[in-house]
């Protein structure tokens, strides 16, 4: 599913965020990428989501080398990914339902099918009864679950999450991880970036980053 080979990311100011990183993630794996603040976790998330390109090396996701991907091909790759951001990136001027419908309208699904899938995704994360609510009216845990519903509504085979339990209380974080486990059980590949390895679950693999290097795989 993911193959990274000698990946280096250097920013124009000379900061080297990732150095010579190589790893493989197979189909259906659950992988936690951990490390302290500044270890390069979020940079790696940006590279995997094709938000940024590596300075050197290659990252192959779902058979496509992201380092060589044309700008026009990026949207079509992103439709195959489920992305969950640390700041959630919810649209606060749209209802809960409309937030979940967004990726489906981008993918061009017929309205009836889109509505069916959006309801199923909201049901999965326990927000079906809040579909008319505005995101601002949701708790932190509910907002994160909404972000997850939006990420999975297109039925991606790879789910990438950047610090999905940050700023959540223990109970809400537990609910989020239960959701991830349920997706893993049905064969979705999960890459979860977290600074807190206490959420590591059984059967999961950990990649630990320190100062831009892989120190434990």
């Amino acid at each position: 599913m993911i193959s990274a080979s000698a990946v280096t990311k250097r920013y124009p100011q000379g900061i080297e965020a990732l150095k010579d990183l190589s790893f493989e993630i197979g189909d259906g794996e659950l992988v936690f990428i951990t490390g302290h603040s500044g270890a390069g976790k979020s940079t790696l998330f940006h590279l995997l989501a094709a938000i940024e390109k590596p300075t050197s090396g290659s990252i192959v996701v779902d058979g496509q080398n992201l380092a060589a991907l044309r700008r026009g091909a990026i949207p079509y790759l992103r439709r195959k990914l489920g992305l969950i951001f640390q700041d959630q990136k919810l649209l606060f001027d749209r209802s809960v339902l409309d937030n979940v419908l967004l990726p489906l309208s981008i993918a061009g699904l017929p309205p009836r099918e889109a509505m069916r899938r959006a309801h199923a995704a909201l049901d999965k994360v326990g927000l079906l009864d809040r579909e008319r609510a505005w995101p601002i009216a949701l708790s932190g845990g509910e907002q994160q679950r909404l972000a997850i519903a939006r990420a999975v509504v297109n039925r991606p085979s790879l789910l990438l999450a950047d610090e999905p339990t940050a700023n959540l209380d223990r109970e809400s974080a537990g609910q989020i991880l239960d959701l991830f486990r349920s997706f893993h059980q049905v064969g979705v590949t999960l890459v979860i970036i977290t600074h807190d390895p206490q959420w590591m679950t059984r059967g999961a693999r950990m990649l630990r980053l320190a100062r831009g290097r892989l120190v434990d795989a």
Partner: protein, 299 residues
Amino acid sequence: MGAFFSGHLAAARSAARRLAASPLNTLLSLVVIGAALALPAAGWLTLDNVQRFAGKVSGAQQISLFLTPGGGEKEAAEIETRLAGLSPGKWRFVAREEALKRLRETEGMADVAAGLTRNPLPDAFIVEPGDVRPEALENLAEIFRSWPAVAHVQLDSAWSRRLDVFLRLARLAVGIFAGLFAGMLVAVTFNTIRLQILARAAEIEVSRLFGATDAFIRRPFLYFGALQGALGGLFALSLIAGAGWSLAGPAGELLLLYGTDFVPRGPSPAQAGALVGVGAALGWLGARISVSIHPRGFA
């Protein structure tokens, strides 16, 4: 194909919703766009009516063929045949009896006509050429002069030339103003879309992260620009209609003083459609320029 159309339909609906969501802003934009379209359009219409009116009142765009006095139906029929062969435009035959009757009915000429012992007026043809350029009119008059049984050809070429130069000058001025106003319309739409893009930066960024293409991002803005321009065109038509309605009374009185049955023409359905279409096209252009420049920075 279904997804393609449903995508366009959704973008058009989104554009209509955003127009309706801020009625005051929309109204102000429509006033500016409507005025920018109405002024040159009204200029074109006025010139069109001036040309028609001048032709009707002065006869500048008519050529009169006076037949040889004493000629009969045979000569008139021959000229009719030649006119049919040449097809210069529209024409009508004015018999000498009809000409005398008109003379009698003309104010101040009744006494003169009553004093005539016989009808001195010849039979005549009045030709309204299709091509009214001065050089075309003069060429046509020259051809008519060469025909047998034509005693005199009357064309006021000096007046025709003056009118033609005036109309060309006025059309050029209207064209320049139309260009300036078109630029203004594009600029207004450009700025409206620029502000919308800034206001919707978060939505654009999130859409890109979830796989939106450039076309998907641009589409609602392009529909917005085109829709706003088309509505501006309709507003311009209503301004022209309103101006026409308010000027109809005084203009009618003025025309009566000239003793003419001339009726000024408003925009035809095709011209009205063209005005709305031009508004939509210019609105689309403004939006297209704006979306080409602004959303690149996101994600």
